[in-house]
């Protein structure tokens, strides 16, 4: 066998091995050491230039942290569910926080103008907060209880039922605490 044939065959085998490796992974299931631990604190500037927002100051409320980007298709997919959740929980002890992930502020603002949503939006230069949260890709959503502990992490687009289940169960904790 000439070396050229060997190279071709090895390439084919490597390719098949790569696909086989893919089979052993579940793209939506990634264990996070954060679940059950206090959420990494952050203080970030708002996308629209408002005063900075710190996670510390949101204690006592259910906090939904959603990492997103305007270039991300799955984010567009989940956006209507976020809008609905935001409208539903507006008057309650729930604070929704969007964190823009690897995107320009202009694009993010344009996206929000098009798709709506009036919850807090923060910019995360150099992805510091995203790294602290262990974000692999967008969208990822973290549900944080009133004591500042990460209760659940969701990878990929959220749905109405995920949002309401998580938020409702955490809201009970708010009730217990007061």
């Amino acid at each position: 066998m000439s070396w050229r044939r060997i190279v071709v065959l090895v390439a084919v085998l490597v390719f098949v091995a790569l696909l086989g490796f893919g089979l052993t992974r579940d793209p939506s299931l990634i264990a996070s050491p954060l679940v059950g631990a206090p959420a990494p604190d952050f203080r970030l500037e708002q996308l629209d230039g408002g005063p900075t927002v710190g996670l510390q100051n949101l204690r006592g409320q259910v906090v939904v942290v959603n990492f997103w980007a305007s270039w991300c298709l799955a984010c567009k997919e989940e956006h209507p569910a976020l809008v609905r959740a935001w409208q539903r929980y507006k008057g309650e002890h729930v604070r929704m926080v969007g964190i823009v992930y690897q995107d320009t502020p202009e694009n993010a603002r344009k996206y929000l103008k098009e798709h709506g949503g009036g919850w807090t939006q923060l910019v995360d230069p150099k992805s510091r907060v995203a790294i602290n949260f262990g974000v692999y890709g967008v969208p990822e959503t973290f549900f944080i209880g009133p004591a500042g502990v990460v209760a659940q992490k969701h990878i990929g687009p959220v749905t109405d039922s995920i949002l309401s289940t998580q938020i409702d169960s955490l809201l009970m904790e708010v009730g217990e605490g007061s």
Binding site: V12, L23, A69, E77, P80, Q87, G116, Y136, D160, S161
Partner: protein, 662 residues
């Protein structure tokens, strides 16, 4: 009972398919014509059995026989009848059954149509196709058995995925996709036969031209219908998002498109033997790979329906096909050596070659982007997602190159031409393209790539138009009426002018993509009934918001009147549908289409008390022309595959050969 019948048919089909494949190979090796005929008959029997299985499944679906697992999974008593019929492809097991049926259909057609032809090669063709069918049968009998017996029998089922219930295009997109995907098995099987028998000359290329064109146009229809469906159902107002499954259908389309062009070079100039075989093998591998990637959960995709055992089975099949074809190609390399050579870079075959390179580079780019998350995780252990910006940036220049070549190709003669003649030929089209670009800019189109695409499309259209004009002129000078002259011209060389028509469709789509991708307006607004919102010259007024109970779902409807410059132009009624089996509502956007632009309205959310509703409005120019372009492509393909009388074809070839330097 029905389940037993369907399952038995599949078991018998597997036995018959394996027998047919073995018998065919033995027959040709030992020269036993009787056994070869038996192999052909096996192909026909497999098709009959496949039809019995599909009929049993349809019967189970239509009679709400929930003792059959697939019917219990996707059926429901309340689902409208038409949707029940097309539920055959609403979930994994049913789609694989349907895939197998389409494959059996193609195999039977090949066995029947070539019963007296290609005696040396046909058995290998059939063996390849029957072996592929056996793989799907193993999947159907094992991990993805749709005829599983359910006990106790449920009283009712959940109904098919609401996203699929929502739109009539679900009756078009999946069947076209399977007819396209599975159709590439035919040219692949011929290529395998060509390699095994050592007949790598143009015979197999002639044999598969129509099959490839048919599979290709079905895949084209499917891609466009899928985009159309996404646009009308998914509620984000776009038609293409570089989702892995979209990429999976685009990649074989690209390689097949390359193949359709490069075979012409092999037919005329005896070049590119190895290239053509490789292209068709790649096309087939990409169809299986695409199915594997999107259906096994390796990549996350909107289309993934995961199943634990399907993944490894498909991976095994991908590996077998890849190794088998690579080994065949390596073994036959000596037969695939260069036979012809390029006379000049200023020739039609050179244009075809460059176009081929563009298509292959595009395929690699899309493959890289699709697989990169997997590579990154394997190599560096990190999860990444590759988004639309990568694909747009990487592919747009190549796509513009393809549009440019559609203008260059037809103007170049085979073999060679002079550079001077070329400049003269291209002067007018280049001028026309520039004029079109300037007009577009005056219409407030902007940006380098959109304007370039529009200008190049104008250039290419002018080149083709002039070719047709010249041809008609010749007919008219011989005393024919212009209509007759055109008909004579087209029927004289259907392949060529069919190709021009297909190209015209592509140009229309290219311009529509450039316009719709870059110049859309999106606004989101919350309005109370009686109030209105202004977008891009339109006024949308929410007249009322009401609930509507239907047998199988509850809908909330926004009744919206649409105004332009103070005059009413229509009504829109976007809905949010609540299905009993799903927690999340499924939107049905409402679209007003016109030749210049679409107004797309999606109901995102509403207040429970009816005091306000949140809408998303998207105004996109020229969307309609995407679908029109696809119709034109279908028309062109029909012209190209229509059988021409042999003599005429020969004359056409002679004529083209003589017009070498015009």
């Amino acid at each position: 009972m029905t389940g037993m019948l369907g399952y038995s048919a599949l078991v018998l089909a597997l036995g018959t398919a394996v027998y047919g494949a073995v018998a065919s190979v033995v027959a040709v090796r030992r020269e036993m014509p009787g056994l070869a005929a038996s192999g052909r008959n096996a192909a026909l029997v497999v098709f009959v059995l496949a039809t019995v299985a599909v009929a049993a499944m349809e019967y189970a679906l239509l009679t709400n026989d929930f003792s059959v697992s697939y019917a219990a999974q996707v059926g429901s008593r309340a689902t409208p009848r038409f949707i029940t019929v097309i539920s055959l492809w609403a979930a994994l097991e049913g789609s694989i059954l349907f895939w197998f049926w389409v494959l059996a259909l193609y195999t039977a057609l090949v066995a029947w149509l070539y019963r007296n032809k290609h005696r040396e090669q046909l058995p290998y063709v059939l063996a390849t196709m029957l072996a592929t069918a056996s793989f799907f049968l193993i999947v159907l009998l094992g991990p993805s058995n749709p005829f599983h017996r359910v006990w106790p029998v449920p009283a009712d089922g959940p109904g098919p995925n609401p996203l699929l219930q929502n739109h009539p295009l679900m009756a078009v997109h999946p069947p076209a996709q399977y007819l396209g995907y599975v159709g590439f098995t035919v040219p692949f099987a011929f290529a395998v036969a060509a390699l095994i028998t050592g007949r790598t000359d143009a015979w197999w290329v002639h044999a598969v031209r129509r099959w490839t064109l048919a599979a290709w146009i079905f895949l084209t229809i499917s891609i466009v219908a899928g985009g159309w469906w996404a646009y009308e159902v998914l509620g984000w107002g776009g038609y293409w998002g570089w989702d892995p499954v979209e990429n999976a259908s685009l990649m074989p389309w690209l390689t097949a498109t390359a193949f359709l062009h490069s075979v012409m070079v092999q037919e005329r100039r005896e070049m590119l033997r190895g290239w053509n075989v490789s292209l068709i093998v790649s096309t087939f591998v990409l169809t299986i790979l695409g199915t594997f990637l999107t259906r096994s959960g390796v990549l996350s995709s909107v289309h993934a329906f995961s199943n634990s055992l399907i993944g490894p089975l498909f991976l095994g099949f991908v590996a077998v096909v890849l190794l088998f074809s690579t080994a065949l190609l390596l073994w036959r390399t000596p037969l695939l050596k260069k036979t012809g050579s390029l006379d000049s870079v200023l020739s039609r075959e050179a244009a075809f070659l460059v176009a081929n390179l563009l298509f292959v580079v595009l395929t690699f780019t899309v493959l890289l982007g699709t697989l990169f998350p997997l590579v990154a995780e394997a190599a560096w252990g990190v999860k990444v997602s590759v988004g639309a910006p990568f694909f747009n940036q990487m592919t747009v220049p190549f796509l513009a190159g393809v549009v440019f070549l559609m203008g260059v190709g037809p103007a170049l003669p085979w073999r060679r031409t002079s550079g001077r003649g070329l400049l003269v030929r291209f002067a007018t089209p280049a001028l026309m393209g520039t004029v079109l670009g300037v007009v577009a800019a005056l219409l407030r189109a902007h940006g380098f790539w959109p304007l370039l695409t529009i200008a190049l499309a104008g250039f290419a259209a002018t080149v083709m138009g002039r070719e047709v004009w010249k041809g008609v002129g010749v007919g008219v000078s011989r005393g024919l009426g212009p209509g007759r002259a055109l008909a004579r011209l087209v029927t004289g060389n259907r392949r060529r002018y069919g190709g021009y028509v297909v190209h015209t469709g592509v140009l229309v789509i290219a311009v529509a993509v450039a316009a719709s991708w870059n110049f859309k307006h999106e606004v989101e607004a919350t309005v109370a009934p009686g109030r209105s919102v202004d977008v891009a010259g339109y006024t949308l007024q929410l007249d009322q918001l009401y609930g509507q109970q239907q047998p199988y779902r509850f809908s909330v409807v926004g009744d919206v009147s649409l105004w332009r410059n103070g005059a009413p132009v229509g009504r829109l009624d976007p809905k949010l549908n609540y299905y009993p089996t799903r927690q999340e509502p499924v939107p049905t956007p409402s679209v007003r289409t016109s030749p210049t632009e679409d107004v797309f309205l999606d109901l995102l959310a509403f207040e429970q008390d009816g005091s306000s509703a949140t809408f998303k409005v998207v105004v996109t120019p020229m969307i309609m022309w995407l679908w029109v372009g696809a119709y034109i492509m279908v028309l062109g393909t029909l012209i190209a595959v229509w059988p021409a009388r042999k003599k005429k074809l020969a004359r056409a070839i002679v004529r083209e050969e003589t017009e070498v330097v015009a």
